[in-house]
Amino acid sequence: MANTKDRIAVGEAVGIVAAQSIGEPGTQMTMRTFHYAGVAEQVPTGLPRLIELVDARKEPKKPFMDIYLESSAANDEKKAKKVAAALECVLLEQIASVNEDFEGKSIKIQADANELGLLSVDINDVRAKVKELISPGTVECRENTITAKPKVNTLRALRRFTNKIKQLQVKGVEGVRRSIVIKDKNEFFIRTAGSNILGVKDIEGIDFKRVYTNDVKEVERVFGIEAARNALVHELDQVLTSQRLFVDIRHIMLLADAMTMDGAITSIGRHGLAGQKAGVLARAAYEETIKHLVNAATKAEEDMLIGVTENIIVGQTVPIGTGLVKLRMKL
């Protein structure tokens, strides 16, 4: 804990200071996207990523995971590559040609033997999956050709099944578009394009405790709000430090705490924190002026003048810092 000299002053407008401390370096940030070696995706950093975090988007533009291996395999590149290959999501259409036979009302799946071997996919597994998909239809399998006969009457329904079969996931983890092995300082780890924490939970050989994702909303879904808050702090800090901009962690924590204070990740803009403030005048002065005034009138709302903006508008002392102190005198 802080000794008296270093202690924050009571009444200090820490919110404004935090907002300024995070916002001011924004002008100095690059708009560049960062190119992670190998992952064929430009992961946004700098200002676009900062805006993405603050907006609390449902999913980041480019979600990714860093998956570390169990300590026994940490230095085994071969093993790492094997695990990485197991993660990549393969759709049936990537390894097979899927064609309808409209006359026979059936779908012919011609798997590429080469690809099958390369990805070590068992055609019988595929058959089982197809069968499950089209049940109560029937499935026939001859060598690398599967003929599926779903119970359909119309060609349109048949086409629907074809599309479903094409998108059938035959291998890997859903959502993981690509995975590559990267050598860290002292161990190998896997970086994936696309994020799915629960999907990799039971993959053998990985150290699940160290799985990292840049998808804050996913962290919230899987681990809860406290974890999401920490993820948010970490991600915000990463964005700023990667640009060599130094912002005290306390400002970042305050922002993350504000965004998670009501138990769900709330964005900063007009649909989030700034738009649900207590005062009518504060909301009207921010954005959507008319909407807020009309709603306030129908509900006969009262503005208790407790915020900064409201008091500036009516020309009173702002209840922050020295403005918080009151002295009553008999005149």
Binding site: M1, A2, N3, D6, R7, I8, A9, V10, V14, G15, I16, A18, A19, Q20, S21, E24, P25, G26, T27, M31, T33, G38, A40, L47, I51, V54, R178, A193, D248, I249, R250, H251, L255, D257, A258, M261, R270, L273, A274, A282, A284, A285, T289, I290, L293, T298, K299, A300, E302, D303, M304, L305, G307, V308, T309, V314, P319, I320, L324, M329
Partner: protein
């Protein structure tokens, strides 16, 4: 300041027609403004009972003159009711949830009870009725009509247009109880009040007319709109009285609705905006409030002020960092109030009796009468000056002012300085305080605000004085610090080579205001370090690694590579920018901010004096390479060409190995980009080696004074690869960037590699490629400022009410917890590094 009255709260509501009539001082009956003698018409839209704006006329209600009375409201009696367009959604809500037959809610007892419970549990929540609308009225059993709203104001009942009269009757029939359950407060906002029967007319001062040079009057947009409303209203009345057919009446009624809709909001969707004769859309009520230039953001959240000055800024390294040089012309124009007491009576009289600067401009007598001090009144003012008067005197040295440069991105964009009146026409500031303002002197202007009360002065001095802001709250490190030439100066004083004779040593010390000469430490001479140490406090002890690492001729570490300060004496070292910052931060944490200011003032002057004395500059020679090194660079570029050629051949032969997750084409580009950046880095090594550690441009780059090694490379060796969106340029003509290249040429030249250095000069094609890269970065900067500005506005709006409470928790304005303990440790980020520096 003594506050005797405070606004407790503000309630928003709808006006009932009765309320409007009660408030109104005049019923508008004439759709016109002035008569032929340009005198306001009684019962017209600028009736003097609503207030006046012309000087000489009197407000007929309160008797006030123009400028003193805010004016009074009037009203227009509408012949037929009209829907308020902004509230049509609220009306729809009521119409859809009540029965037109029984005027009761469409829900049975049980459902109503549930809604009531929901509303009680979440009083702040919008009442949302999730139940399905029944097909028949539960009270009368009749079939319910389908109610639809065609925005903005047309209601349909089973595809039949509903007239406002019908709507008003329906809404008026719904009981207060039911209205409450629909989330509307019936006491203050009955829904039928949103169907206007009586229109409130704002006072004249809200819509002042302007007199043009020709003497013609030009009315405000609102007045124009009100005239339109009045005209249609009267025509409608005449037609009704004449018994015109229903069709004509309804047409006029609709026209009246249009005018009222646009009167409230001329940007209503699906409605053509009402236009001025010139074709310009009128600016009506909603537009006046909305957006950046609207009432809220332009006039209420930000206000224009008096006692302020603005002009160009220029540097003055001789004034203190907490001073600001104010031109005499400005000092003469601006005033500071002095409260006369028995103790400063004589002091005040001195200003009053003077007729040259600094003199008193006005005296405000205890009866708050303001008297201008002039030749004529001077003697009388002097004789009658009493305790309790306020003397407004001109600005003098030592007065407290606030100094600001826009954009005010953080709190240190406004700081408190003390005035120093100087000749000239610019505001002067010490270049050391440029950083927090982000100011330079290429024509920047800054604002100055003179503080007008003792309370404000104390507050500004305690919270906003420059020396209190040396450490930034953003990261706890110094933000007000010597930069550029100061850093170079600091390095040249403190490095081992700096040895001065007696007269030089005396000059350097005197420049910093030190009059005591320490004992010589280099035989009869003084090392620069011993001179610099005179500025350091005795308690200072630290060891810092220097950024500028040198080797001795024998290959061992140069002693200056480590900066050692023991008991305030600097033993070794060459201060670079980071080391100088740390010294400054340590001094502040040891001895306080006032000591920090003094150190900055003195060290700054000493560093500038030293660098002026020693002499420091860069020339073309700094950036020229000798023949061997030039050849080396050429060789590097040849190798690069060959390497690129070989990857391209591999690509064309399809023997290039594809990188995981990339296409073949992308792989090729990746590889080439790798080669080009490798080449430039190799060129960098050549340049660094060739220039050595004595080259001034290298020294500047290494100690962090200005520029980087990359700048030196680009000037001396080669400019390197130009990139657009992180890729080599590829657009322009089909298959090539410029017609100078072959189609499909993927070589370095054709794709934006600049072989020449800035010193040698770029070829025409290189120049073109380089300017493409330059354009991109200009565009990016423009976009970035806009985007980050909006982000910061949102951040501030979201976090502005959060403060530290007496229990060190952080709460927002509704007192909800944001953090239980600020930062988890109660530490002020400004002091985040103090522990490290003082232990």
């Amino acid at each position: 300041m003594i506050v005797t009255k405070m606004i407790d709260k503000i309630k928003f509501s709808l006006f009932s027609p009765e309320m409007v009539r009660k408030m109104s001082v005049v019923k508008i009956t004439v759709p016109d403004t002035y008569n032929d003698d340009s005198y306001p018409i009684d019962g017209g839209l600028v009736d003097p009972r609503m207030g006046v704006i012309d000087p000489g006329l009197k407000d007929k209600t309160s008797g006030g003159k123009a400028g003193t009375s805010p004016g009074h409201f009037g009203h227009i009696e509408l012949v037929r009711p009209v829907i308020h367009p902004e509230f049509s959604k609220m009306m729809l809500h009521v119409l859809q949830n009540t029965s037109p037959f029984s005027k009761q809610l469409l829900w049975n007892e049980e459902q109503v009870e549930k809604i009531r419970k929901d509303a009680l549990e979440n009083p702040d929540m919008e009442v949302k009725i999730k139940l399905k609308r029944p097909t028949h009225c539960p009270h009368t059993g009749e079939k319910l009509p389908e109610i639809k709203l065609l925005k903005p104001t047309t209601f349909y009942k089973n595809k039949e247009i509903m007239l406002p009269t019908e709507i008003r009757e329906w809404l008026a029939g719904v009981s207060d109880e039911d209205i409450k359950l629909l989330g509307i407060d019936p006491e203050y906002s009955r829904p039928e009040w949103a169907v206007l029967t009586c229109l409130l007319v704002p006072p004249v001062s809200v819509r002042p007319s302007i007199t043009l040079e020709t003497g013609d009057r030009s009315e405000d947009d609102l007045t124009h709109k009100l005239v339109d409303i009045m005209r249609i209203n009267q025509r409608l009345e005449a037609n009704i009285n004449a018994g015109a057919p229903q069709l004509i009446i309804e047409d006029l009624w609709e026209l009246l609705q249009y005018h009222i809709t646009t009167y409230f909001n001329n940007e209503t969707a699906n409605i053509p905006p009402a236009r001025h004769r010139s074709g310009r859309p009128l600016k009506t009520l909603a537009a006046r409030l909305k957006g950046k230039e609207g009432r809220f953001r332009y006039n209420l959240s930000g206000k224009r002020v008096n006692f302020s000055a603005r002009t160009v800024v220029s540097p003055d390294p001789l004034i203190s960092i907490d001073e600001v040089g104010v031109p005499l012309e400005i000092a003469e124009e601006m005033t500071v109030p002095m409260y006369v007491s028995s103790w400063n009576m004589d002091y005040c009289k001195k200003f009053i009796s003077s007729d040259v600067y600094p003199r008193a401009e006005y005296v405000i007598r205890p009866d708050s009468r303001r008297v201008r001090v002039s030749e004529l009144t001077r003697q009388e003012v002097l004789d009658t000056l009493a305790v309790g008067s306020i003397v407004e005197r001109q600005l003098i040295d030592g007065d407290t002012v606030l100094f600001n440069r826009q954009p005010s991105l953080h709190r240190i964009s406004i700081m408190c300085h003390s005035v120093k009146v100087l000749p000239g026409k610019t505001l002067r500031l010490n270049p050391i305080v440029c950083a927090p303002y982000n100011a330079d002197f290429d024509g920047d202007e800054m604002n100055l605000h003179v503080i007008q009360s003792e309370e404000a002065k104390v507050e500004a001095e305690m919270l906003m004085k420059v020396h209190g802001q040396i450490i930034s709250p953003r990261h706890g490190h110094a933000i007000i610090k010597p930069q550029e030439d100061y850093v170079t100066g600091g390095f040249f004083i403190t490095r081992s080579e700096a040895i001065f004779g007696k007269d030089e040593a005396c000059q350097i010390l005197a420049s910093a205001g030190i009059t005591r000469l320490p004992a010589p430490d280099k035989k009869d001479n003084w090392s620069g370090r011993i001179l610099f140490s005179m500025l350091l406090p005795k308690e200072l002890n630290c060891t810092i690694k220097s950024k500028f690492r040198r080797k001795m001729p024998d290959g061992s570490e140069h002693p200056d590579n480590e900066i050692i300060i023991k008991n305030g004496i600097m033993l070794s070292g060459g201060l670079d920018d980071k080391a100088a910052d740390e010294v400054l931060e340590r001094i502040i944490h040891l001895k306080g901010t006032e000591a920090g200011r003094e150190f900055l003032d003195r060290a700054g002057k000493m560093e500038l004096h030293a660098i002026t004395m020693i002499g420091f500059s860069v020339s073309l020679a700094n950036y020229s390479l000798d023949a061997t090194n030039s050849k080396h660079i050429d060789k590097l570029q040849d190798t690069m060409r060959r390497e690129i050629e070989s990857v391209i051949t591999q690509y064309k032969n399809k023997t290039l190995e594809r990188l995981p997750g990339r296409t073949l084409k992308e792989t090729l580009e990746d590889k080439i980009m790798d080669i080009t950046s490798k080449t430039r880095n190799a060129g960098g090594n050549v340049v660094e080696k060739a220039m050595g550690t004595d080259n001034t441009s290298i020294i500047m780059a290494r100690i962090g004074a200005r520029g980087s090694i990359l700048n030196a490379i680009q000037m001396a060796a080669m400019v390197g690869q130009q990139a657009i969106r992180n890729k080599r340029p590829n657009r322009g003509y089909s298959g090539r960037v410029l017609p100078h290249y072959k189609r499909g040429d993927k070589g370095a030249d054709a794709k934006g590699f600049v072989f020449n250095s800035f010193r040698k000069g770029l070829s025409a094609t290189e120049f073109f490629q380089h300017s493409m890269g330059g354009r991109e970065s200009l565009v990016n900067t423009a976009i970035r400022t806009a985007r980050s500005g909006y982000m910061q506005r949102r951040l501030i709006n979201a976090l502005q009410d959060m403060i530290v409470m007496p229990d060190y928790s952080v709460r927002d304005s509704s007192l909800s917890f944001v953090q239980f303990v600020y930062g988890g440790d109660k530490v002020d980020p400004m002091m985040a590094n103090s522990k490290k520096h003082t232990s």
